[in-house]
């Protein structure tokens, strides 16, 4: 039997990798990929807790989280395409028009 700690530590490590990507990537699509990695780590946590406690509520919640993540990715990609149309690149540190 694998202890719950192992799953939580794995999810924490994956979430941290996502945070690292989020902080260092300059490409907007790369940032979206990192966010996806973080959301995946959160889902592992949800399913692991559901397994530990029994019952279906945790898995239903994980399904909701998946659907919300997919909606977020769709809108995020639409915004990235919009950014590409107006600037011809998707480097987030170049998009500083609103900075004085």
């Amino acid at each position: 039997m694998i202890p719950l700690h192992a799953y939580l530590l794995l999810a924490a490590a994956l979430f941290t990798l996502g945070v690292y990507g989020l902080l260092t990537r300059r490409n907007a699509v790369g940032i979206l990929i990192s966010v996806e990695l973080m959301a995946n780590a959160v889902n592992i946590n949800l399913v692991a807790f559901s397994w530990a406690h029994g019952g279906t509520v945790g898995q239903v919640f994980a399904l909701f989280a998946m659907a919300v993540t997919v909606a977020e990715v769709v809108v995020g990609l639409a915004l990235v395409i919009l950014l590409y149309r107006s600037r011809k690149d998707v480097l987030v540190d170049q998009a500083r028009d609103l900075r004085h």
Partner: protein, 176 residues
Amino acid sequence: MIEQAIFAFVASCMLYSGLQVVHGRNLVHAVLWLGVTLSLTALLFLLLRAPFLAGIQILLYAGGVVTLMLFGIMLTHRHGGVHVENQQGRKLRGALAAGALFALMSGAICTTGALPHGGTAVVSAAEIGQAFLTDHLLAFEVLSLLLLAAMVGAIALARRSDYGEVVSGPAGRGVR
């Protein structure tokens, strides 16, 4: 015993592919490594007695999201091949912040005492469907509304502002 071995293998593969996702130089490869990570997560869900979620994970993430990301890359870069530069900046500061976060989280997890141990009961698709349409019906309907809003929003954001206008010119190409 065999379960521990599978978990160790899947976990190490996931960490390696996760590292490739955030550290690779090529954006297309990063997306493909993300597909590997998400598929391995489906294996982890099988270990956690959630076969329905494992199937959904493969269908929705490894199938849908990875394809969507690849389309996103194709639509936002001018390139001839499959190499898309994925530059990184401020690596040291990012690594420090992420390492501090991991130290904080793993400290909190390790100092927590007795966590409940899971059983071996498999949650079937029928049980999940029952829960969706009885206890969580309102959330289910709100979620479908959210998906509709996201779809309409994505189309409204990404379409061209002159879409549908009749182009009048010497070529007379008709509706764009």
